[in-house]
């Protein structure tokens, strides 16, 4: 029996193993109050988006010519726009579109980044060289030019916007993941797995991916904001989700911009929505990154 003073000390009292998800939310609220705030805001917006049909007092395209450009009041909480449409309703429906576009395009972008980054960074060699030159070429085009060209060819709409923004940000972001992979793959534990005979998918899945999660999460959360803003840029050019579908970006750059001085609430309402969601997702993402790292357990 090997018994050595160094190791034979009474084990520290361990946390009770609570069921995964619940204990995770518990830790979020206990250790990361700001992250918890972000989480709550995200949930609220998701809720609004999902139940916009029930929550919204008016239809998003319900025009009321008598109530044009009305300031916020008891009847119209966030005022009305130049066509007399209720801004609150439009913001709620906008949550639906913007959240869907934001999450799915950012999700796609992150997936693309992870795939290119891991393949390029881990396998390295000629493949890395070729992939990275392709990424270089892609990144040297201004984003907006690519967007305009492709959207004018395939036509505007939610699907193309999501795919396009996903690819656009995904390819650029792959650099960040590749860099992280390059440093992770040199660790002795990766080497140990290789020398044991672990298969490539296993190494990538168990050793590389979990250890590049920190940049992945940050990448995702920053991309959500970027995508929502990019969609508003496209909407401004008439290449986003076509009106009358209400996206926050569209509202901001459409009537919001035109009537900014006459009716500031037109810009303020969607603008605040974008800001709040982007901020909430970012702080939530930061908290997520810390909580998912076993090394941060028990620390604040």
């Amino acid at each position: 029996m090997v018994a050595v003073a160094e190791t034979v000390r009474s084990p520290r009292r361990r946390r009770l193993p609570a069921s995964g998800m619940l204990s995770f939310v518990g830790r979020l609220f206990r250790d990361k109050p700001l992250g918890a705030f972000g989480f709550v805001v995200c949930v609220i917006f998701l809720f609004c988006g999902l139940f916009a049909d029930i929550l919204a007092p008016y239809g998003y395209n319900q025009i009321s010519p008598l109530n044009r450009l009305k300031p916020p009041s008891a009847q119209f909480w966030l005022g009305t726009d130049n066509l007399g449409r209720d801004m609150l309703s439009r913001c709620l429906y906008g949550a639906q579109l913007s959240v869907i576009i934001g999450l799915s395009a950012a999700g796609l972008a992150t997936a693309v980044s992870i795939f290119i980054g891991i393949v390029s960074g881990y396998l390295g060699g000629k493949l890395d060289m070729i992939l990275q030159r392709f990424v270089d070429a892609w990144m040297s085009f201004p984003d907006l030019i690519i967007l305009i060209v492709v959207v004018s060819v395939v036509g505007p709409g939610m699907g193309p916007v999501i795919v396009l923004l996903g690819l656009l940000y995904g390819i650029g972001g792959s650099r960040i993941i590749r860099g992280a992979v390059l440093s992770v793959r040199e660790n002795a534990y990766v080497h140990a797995a290789q020398s044991t005979g672990a298969t490539l998918p296993r190494i990538l899945w168990k050793h590389i991916l979990p250890n590049v999660m920190a940049p992945v999460i940050v990448l995702f959360t920053t991309r959500v904001g970027a995508v929502i803003l990019a969609e508003s840029g496209l909407a401004f050019l008439g290449l986003g989700v076509p009106p009358p579908a209400p996206t926050w970006g569209g509202m901001l750059s459409g009537s919001g911009r035109s009537y900014m001085y006459l009716a500031p609430w037109l810009a303020l309402a969607p603008g605040l929505c974008i800001t709040t969601v982007v901020y909430a997702i970012n702080v939530f993402g930061d908290a997520l990154r810390d909580l998912l790292d076993p090394r941060m357990r028990g620390s604040r």
Binding site: H191, A193, S195, G197, A198, T199, P294
Partner: protein, 329 residues
């Protein structure tokens, strides 16, 4: 034909890394001869110490034996099987029999995996555990073997000290019941007090499990403690190989003599009075090793012949061999 108790036979092993130049068209302008003609064998149950200064190729030799880097030429025979030309899939069953323990106890354990996953990964990779219960039992017994408590299995590596982490790494290496463990400076990163415990653990495990070690180190005191035989490397070559006792009592190669002379004696008077034998200069570039004996640029006993003729390993009897013209008779 190798004797049945020979676990590993290395013959004229060479590992050269190409040096490329050119911005667009890469062409090879030379090669770093990290390992340049190394031969030795390791018998079952013994520990072969591999010593030498940084960059002499001792770690590269270890990696080449594991086939983690490409062998330029030469032969590696493991348990009678020539594995030098084996590809990844043919190496897989071999990897069960050869494991490695790493130098850095912090980098060698995945921070995102629990101890049970780290220790059990080799079992999973080779499908050695039939079910969850067998897996857990095996992990628990491995942890016990290296002096850790079974309930440490649910913790993450960052919760352990350097010495404990090294034990986890050893448990992982033991998981598949290997015949040979290559220990790449396994105690260099530990405190001296912990070093002794880990070295003792290595020895206990060797006795219990009949393990064979290749123990790579630069600390001559540690190597002396654990090894049965010691090979001294210089610039990609083995210059002397001898049983431990003989090597320390009467080193033959001037490089070995200089290495041993550099061990401080813990008595200031003896230390001050003993003759100093300091070798000067730097290790020559492994890209352009000097002609003749590789050590001749720094050797205090250099002769004319050393500058032109490369000395070969000569058997001196009693299991020792040396590559030096001083012993040409």
């Amino acid at each position: 034909m190798s004797a049945p108790d020979t676990v590993l036979e290395v013959k004229d092993l060479k590992v050269h890394f190409p040096v490329l130049a050119g911005a667009v068209v890469r062409r090879q302008v030379g090669s770093v001869k990290a390992v340049d003609g190394v031969s030795f064998d390791v018998r079952r149950g013994e520990t072969l110490g591999l010593v030498g200064e940084s960059g002499c190729g001792k770690s590269t030799t270890g990696l080449a034996i594991l086939k983690m880097i490409d062998i330029t030429s030469g032969e590696v025979k493991f348990e009678g099987e020539n594995i030098s030309s084996y590809d990844r899939s043919r190496m897989r069953p071999i990897r069960r029999r050869m494991q490695m323990v790493y130098q850095d106890p912090f980098g060698s354990l995945n921070p995102r995996m629990k101890v049970s996953e780290i220790v059990g990964e080799p079992l999973e990779v080779h499908g050695m555990a039939s079910d969850r219960a067998a897996y857990d039992a095996r992990v628990a017994s491995l942890l016990d073997m290296v002096g850790l408590l079974p309930d440490m299995a649910d913790r993450y590596p960052h919760e352990f000290s350097g010495g404990q982490r090294q034990r986890i790494g050893i448990a992982r290496a033991l998981a598949l019941d290997p015949a040979l463990i290559i220990c790449d400076e396994p105690v260099s990163a530990l405190d001296v007090s912990i070093q002794a415990q880990v070295v003792n653990l290595f020895q206990e495990l060797q006795e219990r499990l009949g393990l064979t070690y290749i123990f790579i180190a630069h600390d001559l005191a540690v190597v002396r403690h654990i090894s049965h035989r010691i090979a001294v490397m210089y610039l990609g070559r083995i210059v002397e190989i001898a049983p431990r006792g003989e090597l320390y009592a009467k080193p033959l190669h001037p490089y070995t003599q200089a290495l041993l002379a550099a061990i401080p004696i813990p008595d200031p008077e003896v230390e001050a009075s003993r003759p100093q034998q300091i070798i000067t200069g730097e290790v020559p570039s492994a890209m352009r090793p000097p002609p003749g004996c590789r050590f001749h640029t720094r050797c205090p006993k250099v002769m004319e012949v050393c500058r032109s003729v490369d000395p070969s390993m000569r058997d001196r009897g009693g299991g020792r061999a040396v590559a030096c013209h001083l012993y040409d008779t």
